[in-house]
């Protein structure tokens, strides 16, 4: 039984009262005295030469303060990419510049041509419309295969072609050829992991501010990682030293990856505030978000599985085209490579695995990490393929998976990662119970009696979280460290402030992180306040993405708290005139083993700041410690998901009848928060499987640029979810034994849904092997009637 409010307790979220009463402080809720407003003029063609940008008439319009164009940013750095991938020949990827405002060319719908700063937003927008732009249209490169043809138009004139890199990873050619040459059966599948738009419900906002008396710039921004923005923007774009640049990410309304990246709009507002000596605010409209937020996924893959005569997996190879869009965003090159190829072994002990990825530039909005980032793509391919193999072999899809599970740990895959621990049979056992798999055939008959086709889909995922061991990331081309930081400041009267480099934008850190500290100290969590999101208040931290906050950020807090306890014990030993080795801390009370001597937590904290009776010759006054935690490995959450659908054979409409998720996240700090993270991921995964699709036409126009055209999952599209995280194999290398739960739902759910739809159609006698997502009524109906 967990301590009150400690590790394992379903503590209500303390941040909720401010959100529930409308008192949250999001970036767009901030208004600065004297602020001016920004409107960007964005390209309405996907590819073209900028012949003329005439701002004369627009600049004379009411309220216009200044109009900036690409010329104002000559000599200013471009938006940097944070990861360099080395290709199969040992050459660095092709890395084009991304100017803050377009210089010479526009390369996607929404590319920034000019920015108007005006007294009001309406004036800024009106003036932006009045700028006269002449663009010489160039052929738009939209389709990835066509982009790689020898005579394709180049997105970037200075690059050799539209290939960012051609990357091969895992087993060598001989091992792969050997496996496929001796295979008793080979299953092949070609599929599309469609482009998505993350669409956090809060659009991006940036406010630049500048204090001339101190030459200090401040950026308020909707970011998942304020320190990373400070470093990228300060050092690489604007040349502002970090001690003169503060980045604040206050309450942030969802991120899902798309608020990791450093965006040109942030740099623009910071730049313009300094140029104009006024606060400058930009708030993205939803339409603007569709054409300026980095988008997600967009892989086209051919995958092949070789099996021996006993249905053992003996080889796996993939060939993927990954769309980068027009520019490289912050971690874009890593998503189809190190966040995707490294997970291709899945939960299975396939001895030979080889992954080939070609990343391609196109005249589309840039693509980067979206919830799961590479791991949903890996899981989807593999788990669709295994389902197809089971069908071809007449094998039970669960039995085929179980037969090939990794069962001994640590396990080093052919794609370079080492799973430290796991129990894939364990999560499958849980799933079989919570999904009531035994009762499926009866439910199928009930559906059939109502004229519906019922299908059951299974999926086993593994992911790598807790980014990441810095030395490893460095070897793989990452241009940053991926530690996390924490400072624990104990006040004289015993309360604590914990400052974390992680950022909370829905994950509930303000509740769960104090639970860790409270548990370690044996005090009430209400004595602990969490501070995050402001570079002027927190130690240099790397932020929140890749389900890393608890496993890396939480571990930093753990380490800092250990230092606090060690020092506090020294102080307590002095106060009790005892040996430090004999001092114990329990329930906020220090005592000496085997005696009745004790001092309270508050006595020790007061002594630290009022050191009248204090071992000053041995230790400094004060009680504040900082830790930087760099993990030694990734963490490997894994699980088994099941989905049941009903398909209406007359319309092709798919209804999700039930969804069950059995996850192994290692130890759990707050089960209620974990449930919510899984629910949200499943909701997004169902969205991808059934509804969402980001579509460009052949000229590069975005056809799905509003909520009327881009179908987001709504409350009536999804069921209640059965989630269970009782199968726990604690992580072996971080002090909390935690693995991360933020992305699992989005990774695990799409293959379960599509597998269920295919199963439903097969049960109706339709020879349908595969339907690309989103599995819309039109696609299902076409598959049923053409197959």
């Amino acid at each position: 039984m967990p301590a009150d409010g400690g590790i394992g307790a379903a503590t209500p979220r303390r941040e909720d009262v401010r959100f529930l009463t409308g008192a949250g402080n999001y970036t767009d809720d901030i208004n600065m005295r004297g602020q001016a407003y920004v409107a960007f003029l964005r390209s309405d063609v996907a590819h073209g030469k900028l012949k003329k940008v005439d701002t004369g008439a627009a600049a004379a319009m009411p309220g216009v303060i200044r109009i900036f164009t690409g010329e104002d940013f000559e000599g200013v750095g471009g938006i940097p990419c944070g990861w360099q991938v080395t290709d199969r020949h040992g050459e660095p990827m092709q890395e084009p510049p991304q100017p803050v405002l377009a210089q010479g060319k526009v390369r996607h719908i929404g590319d920034r041509i000019a920015a108007v700063v005006a007294e009001s937003l309406e004036q800024a927008r009106n003036a932006a419309e009045a700028i006269v732009v002449e663009i010489e249209d160039l052929p738009a490169v939209v389709d990835m295969k066509k982009a790689l043809e020898p005579d394709a138009t180049k997105v970037h004139d200075d690059l050799k072609n539209n290939l960012c890199y051609d990357w091969v990873f895992g087993s060598d050619d001989a091992a792969i050829e050997g496996a496929f040459s001796k295979a008793a059966h080979v299953t092949t599948l070609e599929l599309v992991n469609q482009r998505l738009v993350a669409n956090p419900m809060e659009p991006r906002v940036a406010i630049g501010d500048y204090a001339s008396h101190s030459d200090e710039s401040t950026l308020y921004t909707t970011s998942q990682n304020p320190h990373m923005i400070r470093l990228l923007m300060g050092a690489f774009v604007l040349g502002i030293p970090e001690h003169k640049l503060r980045v604040v990410a206050p309450d942030v309304g969802g991120g899902f990856g798309t608020k990791i990246f450093h965006y040109a709009e942030e740099a623009f507002c910071t730049f313009a505030a300094k140029a104009l000596h006024r606060p400058v605010k930009w708030t993205s409209s939803r339409s603007e978000a569709f054409i300026s937020d980095a988008q997600g996924r967009d892989h086209v893959t051919k995958i092949e599985l070789a099996l021996d005569a006993e249905n053992n997996f003996i080889g796996l190879r993939t060939d993927t085209l990954a769309n980068m869009g027009a520019y490289l965003m912050t971690v874009a090159p890593a998503v189809p490579t190190y966040l995707h190829g490294t997970l291709m072994a899945g939960c299975y002990r396939t001895p030979a695995v080889q992954v080939n990825v070609r990343a391609v530039f196109t005249n589309t909005v840039p693509v980067d990490a979206y919830r799961g980032a590479g791991r949903p793509e890996a899981t989807y391919q593999l788990e669709r393929l295994i389902d197809k193999a089971a069908r071809e072999l007449g094998a039970d899809p669960i039995a085929l998976r179980r037969q090939n599970f990794v069962t001994e740990f640590p396990y080093t895959t052919p794609v370079a990662v080492q799973y430290d621990t796991g129990n894939y049979h364990g999560t499958m056992d849980v799933l079989e119970k919570i999904a009531d798999i035994a009762g499926f055939e009866k439910r199928r008959k009930d559906s059939e009696a109502r004229g519906k086709l019922r299908g059951f889909g299974i999926n086993c995922y593994i992911e790598a979280c807790g980014l990441a061991p810095s030395h490893l990331v460095g070897q793989l081309g990452g241009r940053a460290g991926f530690y996390e930081s924490a400072t624990v400041r104990v006040n004289a009267t015993g309360g604590l402030v914990v400052m974390t480099g992680s950022h909370s934008h829905g994950q509930g850190h303000e509740t769960s992180f104090p639970q860790v500290v409270a548990d370690m100290l044996g005090i009430d969590p209400s004595m602990i306040e969490l501070v995050h999101g402001d570079t002027s208040k927190i130690p240099m931290g790397m932020g929140t993405y890749g389900s890393r906050s608890l496993s890396v950020g939480g571990s930093a807090i753990y380490r800092a708290t250990e230092k606090i306890i060690a020092k506090a014990k020294k102080i307590a030993a002095h106060l009790m005139e005892a040996s430090e080795a004999d001092v114990e801390l329990k329930d906020g009370q220090f005592s000496v083993a085997g005696t009745d001597k004790s001092v309270a937590w508050g006595d020790v904290t007061l002594a630290a700041y009022v050191p009248h009776n204090y071992p000053l010759e041995d230790i400094e006054p004060g009680l504040e410690e900082t830790a930087f935690y760099d993990p030694s490995n990734f963490t490997y959450p894994a699980g088994a998901y099941a989905c049941e659908v009903e398909v209406d054979p007359d319309t092709g409409k798919v209804e999700i009848m039930s969804f069950a998720a059995a996850d192994d996240f290692g130890n759990i700090i707050n089960p209620m928060i974990v449930d919510g993270q899984v629910h949200g991921g499943i909701g997004q995964g169902i969205g991808q499987a059934l509804l969402e699709n980001c579509v460009y036409d052949e000229t590069g126009q975005l056809l799905s640029a509003s909520f009327m055209d881009y179908a987001m999952p709504r409350a009536d599209d999804v069921p209640f979810y059965a989630v269970d995280h009782s199968s726990q194999t604690p992580c072996t290398h971080n002090p909390l034994g935690v693995k991360g739960c933020g992305e699992a739902g989005a990774i695990g759910s799409p293959p379960a849904v599509v597998n269920a739809v295919v199963d439903a159609l097969q049960s109706g006698g339709h020879k349908v092997d595969h339907i690309d997502m989103p599995v819309s009524p039109a696609r299902v109906w076409a598959a049923m009637n053409n197959a």
């Binding site: 209500p12 979220r13 941040e15 909720d16 009262v17 401010r18 959100f19 529930l20 009463t21 409308g22 008192a23 949250g24 999001y26 767009d28 809720d29 208004n31 309406e122 669409n199 956090p200 419900m201 809060e202 659009p203 309450d251 942030v252 309304g253 969802g254 899902f256 409209s285 939803r286 339409s287 934008h505 829905g506 994950q507 509930g508 209620m672 928060i673 449930d675 919510g676 629910h679 949200g680 991921g681 499943i682 909701g683 997004q684 169902i686 509003s706 909520f707 009327m708 987001m712 999952p713 709504r714 409350a715 009536d716 999804v718 209640f720 979810y721 739902g745």
Partner: protein
């Protein structure tokens, strides 16, 4: 452009403001009256983050001109709790952890309150359909639906 003088009752208080003819009620609430709980998630009435009650009717305040509020009653998220006493929906949302980032939450609460005033005993399907106009990207809706149904049950019991 001359401004329009508007008098409306906002969360029970008679309130006067000046607005441009083109300004939405959401603009005025957020930018003039400092009632920033209502959010703009799309500006086109598709996401529900700006939901308010206008004369008892659930509307998207991004689709209402501020001048249209003349003489009418406006209820926003800021008027939902009575001082420190949270509305039962707010209490249940905490109990179920039915929110994450919080940006859509004010709109969902306003919409759910309006539902329970019309239908104190909604089915799961009715709750899902009523809230289908409110997008939430964080929660997958599970706990939201449970919290609303749980609130309804509790309010029926208390009544």
């Amino acid at each position: 452009m001359s401004q329009i003088h508007v008098t409306a009752t906002i969360n029970g208080d008679e309130t006067e403001f000046l607005c441009d003819p083109t300004e939405t009620l959401l603009d005025v609430l957020r930018d003039h009256l400092d009632l920033t709980g209502s959010k703009e998630g799309c500006g086109s009435g598709d996401c529900g983050a700006c939901s308010i009650i206008l004369d008892g009717r659930l509307v998207c305040s991004c689709l209402v001109l501020a001048a249209e509020a003349e003489g009418r009653s406006v209820e926003t998220i800021e008027g939902m709790a009575e001082g420190d006493k949270l509305h039962p929906l707010q209490e249940k949302f905490i109990e179920h952890a039915a929110l994450q980032c919080g940006i859509c939450t004010p709109g969902i609460l306003v919409a759910a309150k309006n539902l329970l005033e019309r239908n104190p005993n909604p089915s799961e399907e009715e709750v899902r359909y009523w809230l289908a106009g409110n997008l939430c990207r964080c929660t997958g809706y599970d706990k939201i639906i449970r919290a609303v149904m749980d609130t309804a049950a509790e309010m029926r019991g208390a009544a």
